[in-house]
Symmetry: D2
Subunit: 365 residues, 4 copies
């Protein structure tokens, strides 16, 4: 029952339900001396905020972050950073119909089985609002990583069968369309397609890709805490993710070794790889090239179409879900994927700080 | 540098290098009262043993397990179970050529970058022999889970483009062919194909599927220690795995909600699902249906074809790897996937034991 | 930098500084189904509240607890319980004199050395207010343990040379005197003595004793997570504690084995011990008799007498501390000791729930 | 059931029973690049070896250490270091009398209560031999700390009422007498006294003191993982320890603030303290002065005198313990205390490596 903390040195604990008083996170282990204020965090929260456009739920939340501790004179002190977002718009909905039955594709049934009962208001802890704490903590990690030259590029890679064309890849486009896609053409086609999905009272699956640039080598702890293993855990822990791929991902299962191996070369005296099928990780340790990670999201389980299901009393029934729901998860989830990757990488970066006796002597000389 | 332990209550720590004196594992947290002997473990180790057939390395190791502690009168005492396999055949190989250069697709470069130098003999800690400890510990977890009615079926799902036909699925076939495939026809085609790969001095990718039956509901700890998140970590931590999928996996990214949602039904008074796209997990918690997990393995990075690479002194060179290597990873890795899933599930099963006050009162009444 | 979380299954994370917006705690891993409201927690916070009487600082805080998550319909849901106390009276003090110099006996110097700078307002994170989170979480643990028949009796055992006379021990007296002493006579003598200490502009040391009754046997995890080891950690982590004793404590160093060994006897068919020198713990595991723990507190480091010290710029200076401070720590710290013991015992109680295969089968049958 | 691992970055897992095949430890997280061989470890094991002299059990063990992994070309590789000591002389004893009854002061009863049965041979896991793994791992930590200028001085401080006279303190004397006392006179008196204890068929309590010199400032993680808190846990986890004191320890409970506060001064431009009542720790963080720790050991519970106890079948009986046992614990336990302090300090030293953003930038610049 205590799975709400992630990380060993950069430790993030999240708390809060969809319809409780607030949601939040506590970051323990952020190094002292980082300039940090609410704005640094708010801009990331705004990327996952509801009510952004026609494809996101109309729940009216401004999701304003408050920093409650760990900062003095605008700088992190090394003590826990407590972050809170108060829930505003959480009295509107009527949950009488989901209180008594199990929504297909949701965690209603499993929470009841595990805990004996559940907070059914908006999914309680299993609501998408749980990710606010992840993003708030991720924003802090991303700001710190940025000072070490590590940057993130995260976007919607596909919506249903519409996959971005890497020849059209335009990083600036990501924040210009409602779907956070780096391909203007694909974004337009996807938008049209989404409107059909909505009019069909249905939802559709999607995927997110995250590229991490500027990685130092040596990050990741063999054998169980490999960089790719912990990235997989962090990203798979996001609701609705059903697959995580590193580098070439599942396509490696059909590749030959002679194709898949990345040759090492010397480029202007620097070690480089001719290709990056490995997605920047060898033996669970960063090799200095870009980290490439993909996450596949299932379609939003809340749909308007009538669905067969059962009641809490174990009787079959038919359910049609009310209220407004995103028809797709990826666009608002991209920043969550980015946050989870950042939290994981920073934690492993801290752990790697004492990998050799020489490093240790430099610190304590 | 301390990533060699996995689990919170059922804790497994592995140690050992390919060419050290031995490899081993320590299990801490195995409940007392489990009948256990070397044979229980040996039969799992034999599934990953080298030299089984024409598709596995000829390294001559019998990999005999020894239990060093934690057992009294043939029963686990609740204290740490120390397991050791001595390395036998570890003086044959000549590593002069890999001592001074970085093998593409291997961890040679990243270990040097992280630790300043490496044990280059057979890959040291990054060798496939590291998985012996995983399998030895997994065998203990599997035996305990079996007493709770939880069983595993793990097999090679694909080799290159040859994917099993589920209409031909025959569980008994798995142990009848050298590739551990549940489809006789596919196994034969794959064998022929593998011989071509070998004659091409190349290697090929593959995938493994693991089905867990008899799962109780309620297993998995929201939000970061979800069952699927920890399975993803455990399986992605196996060398050469580049993707982990749960249930429908990446195909959910193209599915509609109305297809992907599994309807709950009542079957003979029991809660069931009409379908199992979710792979037995909802909201990170087991829903009682089969757990379905897939892992994609990259092709064996050690190939005989000449490859471009660099030396430790950062000079470009050409490498051709000597010795005998498996042209494919899945068959011997299937039992490793099964072991990692079992270790993860048992650990979460223990954690779930006190999810409610009522359970706690029953234990301490 | 991430030492603000304690526990493995019942996990408590505290946050907050003396003069930040608030202090708080997040409990992750509280079993579902515990009736819990603010009043349950408030009564424990009131035992450590400032401004109670002539011997406590006049800082004017009502320390009202707010539960932000983890409760639905008045019952714990199994999800994280977030607890907050807003700081009210935190603008009064003038810290100009301690901002630039290191108070003897305080953490000013060590925080600067560790983090490069510090939040000097009221000691920041090293303030006594940090214990609010401990007590809030402890109150939850104590309520749950009470339902299992485990109860606590914690009191001031000594103030300076005034030690309670166990012949006068009166449990009801504890809450009748300002010093939380179970001996009326000793409390009166101590009060008179304390007034002298105050008029001397000085402070004095003290000790707290905690008795835990109703313990089940078998609690504690050999070898490093023994019950006494984790109690020692939990209690020594309270500011100003310099010694922790279990049972006969330091006096065992002068005892003979024939005196110190507790003989087992059968009393009305129940296993009992003739004596309890061991303080209820054998081999790090509870033996069913009362747990006895003592903590020695140093005198309050903040005194009015002039003291030699140095400035941040490493120049010698003389400091006289302003403001009102408790002349003694034990009375308000007793509830903190009780809280830390409860958190530790509950966590180990949860861990012990699966110590045998038979227990596990009972849970999952 | 998984308390056999200690540490977060420098992780030590011990295993083994008194009469199993072997005892051992796995160190995970030792930085790469430390020269290490068996001799470095053996000299520490020899300090706790049985059969050293007339005051130690005659069990005939040479306790030869073997390094099984983690070393290449005589240098640590950063991978787990597996250490094993085979049990030699473990068939001699006759345990028929303790198999069926509970020895007072031992863990026989509590292990049965926790695990349902126990390995009664020589106490199984609760035997003193369990400390071999602690000392083997401690030796590695001490060697690494030595390279950072941190050194340990650990000795028997008292035996019964015989306490060393600090005016006679002679560090060289520690290894000259069988009792590891730094005071020749006290050692002689104690020896004579011990012979009386032995002829009385009894045992006696004792205490150990450990001084750590050369500590950097800033070591220790507020609030629960304070240096003193983790030292208390580590040392209290040693069998027979019933009290842990830091600095002035329990005597602070009778001291005034004006006496107990250590004034900061400048000595040759360096920050120093006029006194060291705090034992080198302020607010749970090292202040740069010597760490001073004391542990009180109860008398050996195994005595020859007849004792009242009960059988496994809960019937009262009388027990007289056979075989040879140490009449006192401190002398052989001193190196165990030193080892636990070293393991704890090294782990916190590694954690402190990234306490500030500036440190992090230096590492990854």
């Amino acid at each position: 029952m205590s799975g709400s903390t992630i990380g060993r040195l950069f430790k993030v604990t999240t708390w809060g339900e969809s319809h409780g008083a607030a949601v939040g996170a506590v970051i323990d282990g952020c190094p002292a001396g980082l300039m940090l204020n609410e704005t640094d965090i708010q801009k990331f929260l705004d990327r996952r905020k509801p009510g952004q456009n026609e494809f996101t739920t109309m729940r009216n939340e401004d999701d304003k972050i408050q920093i409650m501790s760990g900062i003095f004179d605008g700088i992190t002190t090394g003590t826990p950073i407590s972050l809170i977002v108060y829930n505003k718009d959480h009295h509107s909905a009527d949950y009488s119909n989901i209180a008594n039955c199990y929504r297909p594709g949701h965690a209603d049934y499993t929470y009841d089985e595990k805990y004996g009962f559940r907070d059914y208001r908006g999914g309680g802890r299993s609501s998408g609002r749980e990710t606010i704490g992840r993003v708030a903590a991720g924003a802090v990690a991303i700001k710190l990583l940025d000072q070490l030259g590590i940057s993130f590029c995260t976007y919607t890679r596909s919506i249903g069968e519409y996959i971005i064309d890497y020849n059209n890849f335009d990083k600036d486009e990501i924040y210009k369309n409602a779907l956070y896609m780096p391909d203007k053409v694909c974004a337009e086609k996807s938008s049209a397609y989404l409107k059909d999905i909505i009019s069909d009272l249905d939802s559709i699956g999607s995927s997110v890709e995250c590229i991490v640039s500027g990685m130092p080598t040596g990050i990741g702890e063999p054998v169980f805490d490999k960089l790719d293993a912990l990235l997989a855990k962090a990203v798979m822990s996001i609701g609705a993710v059903k697959a995580v791929e590193i580098g070439d991902g599942i396509s490696v299962s059909q590749a030959c070794g002679s194709e898949n191996n990345d040759s090492f070369i010397i480029d202007n005296g620097e070690v480089k790889k001719e290709t990056n099928h490995s997605g920047g990780i060898l033996g669970g340790i960063s090799d200095g090239s870009d980290i490439i990670l993909r996450a596949s999201f299932k379609p939003t389980p809340s749909i308007y179409k009538e669905q067969k299901t059962i009641t809490n009393d174990k009787e079959e029934t038919v359910l049609s879900i009310k209220g407004r729901h995103d028809p797709i998860i990826a666009p608002r989830a991209a920043v969550v994927v980015e946050s989870m990757c950042a939290i994981t990488i920073l934690d492993l970066l801290l752990q790697n700080a004492t990998s050799t006796v020489d490093k240790l002597k430099n610190i304590y000389k």
